[in-house]
């Protein structure tokens, strides 16, 4: 009996250690895989540029006082075309500087996506983990709740929530968070269930590890990859849905956010004032594209099946 146990302990310790090494080697492989895909590299570069723009926005363009997330409105210079002195990308119907909107919009978008993805990831991970670890009726109830949430098409759901809460950027964040956490819960639960089957988790259990320990050391790190892929894709997706909600009219007026700018600038497109929505629209497109490219690249790099035979 003790013999068997000891062998198992040894095996457990060894596999856990190997698992870590395998993970590190895989991570390295993933990075290498991503670097070899030109589309992913382009995506990474665009994301880097966007991040630089977002982080250094206050140094690129003087923040509007007192609220830098409000468009600086020059009511005396409304609807100026690009190339107007002081407004290289033109101005909006409210005299807002489009360049300011484009640059500070990256900051707003970053906030939006970080807040939504961050909160949904945390909530989803916790709920999914609880469902997967506890099992039983808790799992059943949580998963039915998740199913109900997944039954409503996400844009329509977010639209309904934002509509009910009233138009504001904060409410868009809230609506998206309410809608999107379920994806992570589902991924996380599947991961927990899958990894629970693995030998090394069994081994750890045999040597008397606490559940929490097993979870933190073995299960959580293994689940990081699919969650990361989903989060990367969501970083772009969230901005896209947010902008769509803004377009429909659920944003608050006057903030420096790309979706708001497209929707406000839309009013002038008919009259040849293409700039106020074109540039911010392009930014939404690039943002979503970049994260989609990287998310795709990440998924491909993580997917063992795409390795050459």
């Amino acid at each position: 009996m003790t013999d068997v146990q000891q062998t198992r302990i040894a095996a457990g310790a060894m596999t856990a250690d190997t698992a870590f090494r395998v993970r590190m080697r895989r991570l390295f492989g993933v990075l290498q895989g991503m670097a070899s895909n030109p589309a992913t590299v382009i995506g990474l570069v665009v994301i880097a540029l966007m991040l630089v723009m977002a982080i250094f926005a206050p140094w690129i363009l003087e923040p509007n006082s007192p609220d830098p997330y409000q468009m600086p409105r020059d009511w005396g210079a409304v609807r100026k075309p690009p190339g107007t002195p002081g407004h290289p990308l033109g101005t909006t119907n409210e005299g807002g500087d489009v360049l300011y909107g484009v640059i500070w919009g990256s900051r707003t978008s970053l906030q939006l996506s970080l807040m939504v993805v961050g909160s949904t990831m945390i909530v989803g991970t916790i709920v999914g983990s609880i469902a997967g670890l506890v099992g039983g009726w808790v799992d059943e109830v949580l998963m039915r709740l998740v199913d109900v949430f997944l039954s409503i098409p996400e844009l329509i759901f977010a639209l309904a929530i934002a509509a009910v809460l009233g138009p504001s950027f904060g409410n868009i964040i809230l609506a998206l968070a309410v809608v999107l956490w379920v994806k992570y819960a589902r991924i996380m639960r599947a991961q927990v269930l899958q990894i629970k089957q693995h030998d090394f988790v069994d081994a750890a259990r045999v040597i008397g590890d606490t559940k929490l320990n097993i979870y933190l050391r073995d299960i959580l790190p293994n689940a990081v990859t699919p969650v990361t892929v989903q989060a990367t894709l969501d970083m772009g997706n969230v901005v896209l849905i947010g902008a769509t909600l803004s377009f429909i009219g659920l944003s608050e007026a006057g903030i420096a956010e790309w979706g708001v700018l497209v929707s406000e600038g839309q009013a002038g497109i008919a009259s040849g004032r293409w700039w106020a929505s074109t540039f911010p629209g392009l930014m939404i497109f690039l943002w979503a594209l970049a994260f989609n490219l990287v998310g795709d690249g990440l998924r491909d790099a993580l997917d063992p099946r795409t390795e050459g035979r």
Partner: protein, 337 residues
């Protein structure tokens, strides 16, 4: 036998999900404050406000209101739409027909185009056509539809002036009967080429706008499914039989790649349904999506509740059908379990 158990289980869960959705929807609209704001004005006395609330049973406890709502739905009464100034149930079928026509047109185009594109790319993996298709696919999923639509509108409607907006020419519309509400079908039934052409012509730009993203989804799925199938042994086995590459691709790989691609129909359907909102706004398409957007902005809760509930049920049913079809189609699924 396993398949039947699976179907039974799915069918049993369906009502649970629908009730769940209805509770979520109902709760949501009650959080949002008064559903009758659209009728109120500041000239009203509190008595008058109470009178309007009583008209909509808002003086009752919340759970009673929910029962009223569900009972109404069961009897075909979805409430009164303030925006359409008519019972929701009266206007809904007309709007639904408009939206479905648009969604189906886009969906069909997307399905065929997506499968063709995905096959083309998947068969030429890691070569130029594959990279180009990838760009189409990723950009399709990243392109803000409302922005794309506006750009098309500007070019083809405002600048070149060849594309129309709306759903039909009013005069041509009036010239034929509309038994189905799907104008293309109506035109065929009426045997009027003019009306058919008019209906199709009005469909073109909205379908492109809506279909682009859907094409991307299908193409992407088809590509990866095909790449996966092409790596299977049976493809090599088919080649080893001396089959021409064309037949290997069409009869074996593509055919089997279509099976997992079926699952994407559910996803695409949701995408199209959501997309109709912005596309209908832009192209003045008189469907559910535009009505919903109007209702959202004007606080027409009866419409909003019906719309969310209906689209969810539709989404659920379509996904259920897709899953069942998939389980049936893919014999490997039953084999594996």
């Amino acid at each position: 036998m396993q398949l039947r158990d699976y179907i039974l289980r799915r069918l049993m869960v369906l009502p649970v999900l629908i009730i769940g959705v209805s509770i979520v929807v109902f709760t949501l609209t009650r959080i949002g404050g008064s559903p009758v704001g659209i009728y109120l004005s500041h000239e009203m006395t509190p008595d008058e406000v109470a009178e309007i609330e009583a008209r909509f049973n808002l003086d009752k406890p919340v759970w009673v209101q929910y029962i009223y709502w569900i009972r109404g739905i069961a009897m075909g009464d979805f409430g009164w739409s303030g925006v359409a100034a008519a019972p929701v149930a009266d206007v809904f079928p007309l709007k639904l027909a408009a939206t479905m026509e648009l969604a189906f047109a886009s969906g069909l185009v997307a399905l065929f185009l997506g499968i063709a594109l995905g096959t083309y790319a998947g068969a030429r993996r890691n070569r130029l056509p594959d990279h180009l298709t990838r760009i189409v696919a990723v950009s399709g999923a990243s392109l803000p539809q409302f922005w794309f639509g506006i750009l098309l509108l500007i070019i083809f409607w405002a600048h070149i002036g060849i594309a129309p907006i709306g759903r039909s020419d009013a005069a041509i519309f009036a010239s034929i009967a509309h038994p189905t509400g799907l104008y293309t079908i109506d035109a065929i039934l009426a045997g009027s080429p003019t009306a058919l052409w008019d209906a199709i012509w009005h469909l073109v730009l909205p379908s492109i706008t809506l279909g682009y993203g859907a094409t991307a989804i299908v193409a992407r799925m088809m590509r990866s499914a095909l790449v996966e199938e092409l790596q299977q042994d049976y493809v090599d086995a088919a080649r080893a039989k001396g089959l021409a590459e064309r037949i290997v691709l069409k009869r074996h790989a593509r055919r089997n790649a279509l099976v997992p691609t079926v699952t994407v129909i559910g996803l695409t359907f949701g995408f199209l349904l959501q997309g109709t909102i912005t596309v209908e706004i832009i192209y003045r398409w008189p469907g559910l999506g535009r009505w919903m957007a109007d209702s959202v902005l004007r606080g027409d809760q009866a419409t909003l509740m019906t719309y969310v509930l209906f689209t969810s049920v539709l989404f659920l049913v379509v996904n259920l059908i897709v899953d069942l079809v998939y389980a049936n189609l893919d014999r490997r699924v039953t084999l594996g379990k």
